[in-house]
């Protein structure tokens, strides 16, 4: 019995320690950065996404605004106030510390205190009962369901603790690539231009994105836009670069082959055959076979 009690105490101590660590990790003081401020603001056009998470152009603009204001020497509190004045209390991800918001903060604590109070009360009464009847053992008929509930409670706490410990650790906020914001809206712009058939303009925008952040997928989009803008030679050069960086890319092979073909390069047939060999089931394969058959 004493060994069991010791074990229970040890488990409780471990769980309390884990819970304490988890709470400290999530609410412990951290230096405020532009990213942490963005995390506390809700993107006004998205459902339930913070300004830090959202890919929408407006959220990107809000992130830039935070950067700008911090650079201008404003405090995080002033920055939050700036957004509060313009977007209303709904922009704050956390409820305020006044009025109804305060109630929301206190409620979880009150609920926990209530449950603990109830449990203690019941315990005390039960031990009083058992003392009157038999001082050694609690009545087993009533003890069994109570013990089952205890086990369930411990299991739930253990689960929460396990999740808290296993959750990916967010170290001191590592800033995501700042270029990503601008990229997203530029990519959207390029896509929109492509949809309107303005390939030359789309290519210019893709080129901006590639310059900002070289990436083979964007490079291929650039190559394809160039190809559709009847600038096959440039398209071939770009596709060649993409193929050089990721030799396994069948899309790069396809665009390179098509660009070479459009610019009259004799290498086109060989490139397209390589594409067919690498991706015989590609949706474009049939069309490429037709092209090769025709030449």
């Amino acid at each position: 019995m004493t060994a069991r009690r010791l074990l229970t105490l040890a488990v409780l101590a471990v769980l309390l320690g884990a819970a304490g660590t988890a709470v400290w990790r999530s609410v412990g003081p951290r230096p405020e950065t532009a990213h942490s401020i963005a995390e506390q603001l809700l993107c006004p056009t998205c459902q339930g996404e913070s300004v830090a998470q959202s890919q929408s152009p407006m959220a990107a603009a809000m992130r830039d605004t935070i950067d700008q204001q911090l650079a201008a020497g404003r405090t995080p509190e002033q920055v939050r106030r700036f957004f509060l004045d313009r977007y209303g209390p709904g922009v704050l991800a956390e409820p305020s510390y006044h009025g109804l918001g305060l109630l929301l903060w206190l409620l979880p604590g009150l609920a926990v205190a209530l449950v603990v109070g109830l449990v203690l009360r019941r315990r005390r009464r039960r031990s009083g009962d058992s003392l009157a009847e038999a001082p050694t053992e609690a009545p087993s008929a009533r003890g069994r369901p109570a013990r089952a509930w205890d086990a369930v409670a411990v299991a739930v706490i253990a689960l929460v603790a396990a999740v808290a410990v296993a959750s990916p650790h967010r170290g001191p906020d590592t800033q995501p690539a700042p270029a990503a914001d601008r990229d997203t809206s530029l990519q959207a712009l390029a896509q929109s231009l492509e949809d309107q058939g303005r390939y030359a303009e789309a290519a210019e925008v893709y080129r901006d994105v590639v310059t900002l952040r070289p990436d083979d997928r964007t490079r291929l989009k650039l190559a394809f836009a160039l190809l559709r803008a009847d600038r096959a030679r440039e398209a071939a050069t770009t596709a060649q670069q993409a193929l050089h960086d990721s030799p396994g890319s069948t899309d790069a092979l396809l665009i390179l082959g098509l660009a070479q073909r459009a610019s009259g390069s004799p290498a086109a047939t060989a490139t397209l055959r390589r594409f067919l060999k690498a991706a015989p089931k590609d949706p474009a394969a049939a069309e490429v076979r037709r092209l090769l058959g025709a030449t």
């Binding site: 006004p44 152009p57 603009a61 809000m62 977007y87 712009l189 925008v205």
Partner: protein
């Protein structure tokens, strides 16, 4: 025992009420942005002084905010990558032509855009006479409290923001909201 049971029942009821209050306070706050209805843009009456409009226009010239003094100003947040904006711009240009004598100025804020594409859109639509401030980062639009594109703010002659509309406005909307401000 029965007293304990009553207490438990009361506490349970209190817990349910507390949960209800929590949920209600969450539901009461509009989260995100209600979608503009088919009847027109989402419109709100606003108050407060209009933020400053400064910067460079899409043509590269510095924007002169002094030209807006004493005018009714419609500030339109747009971008060339936004389809509804393309439908709205001709309506705004028509309003400016029709009401410029009565003191209406339309000023665009072109957000997170490529200036060349924006100029091309204005040229395509035949509305090159609409002046727009280039706002490549979108920070001017955020200073106005814009939530997306297209969006319009109407400022009266004394520099107070009076209306905010999320979604494309049409001639009827302009007649109803801007018309009375021009007469005053």
């Amino acid at each position: 025992m029965s007293r304990g049971r009553i207490l438990t029942a009361l506490l349970a009821a209190a817990a349910v009420v507390a949960l209800g209050v929590t949920l209600a306070s969450g539901v009461g706050q509009a989260s995100g942005d209600p979608a503009p209805t088919a009847a027109g843009p989402l419109t709100q009456a606003r108050t407060g002084a209009a933020p400053a409009l400064t910067g460079t226009t899409l043509t590269g010239a510095p924007f002169d905010p002094a030209a807006l003094r004493g005018k009714v100003v419609l500030v339109n947040v747009w971008a060339s990558w936004c389809d509804p904006c393309r439908q709205e711009l001709p309506v705004l240009a028509a309003a400016q032509r029709r009401w410029s004598d009565r003191g209406l100025k339309v000023v665009g804020i072109d957000i997170r855009d490529n200036a060349e594409s924006a100029r091309a859109v204005l040229a395509d639509l035949g509305v090159r006479d609409l002046p727009s401030i280039a706002d490549p980062q979108g920070t001017t639009a955020v200073a106005w409290g814009a939530r997306g594109v297209p969006e319009s703010f109407v400022v009266d002659r004394s520099g107070q923001v009076r209306w905010w509309a999320h979604g494309a406005v049409d001639a009827a909307w302009l007649e109803q909201r801007v018309g009375p401000l021009l007469s005053s």
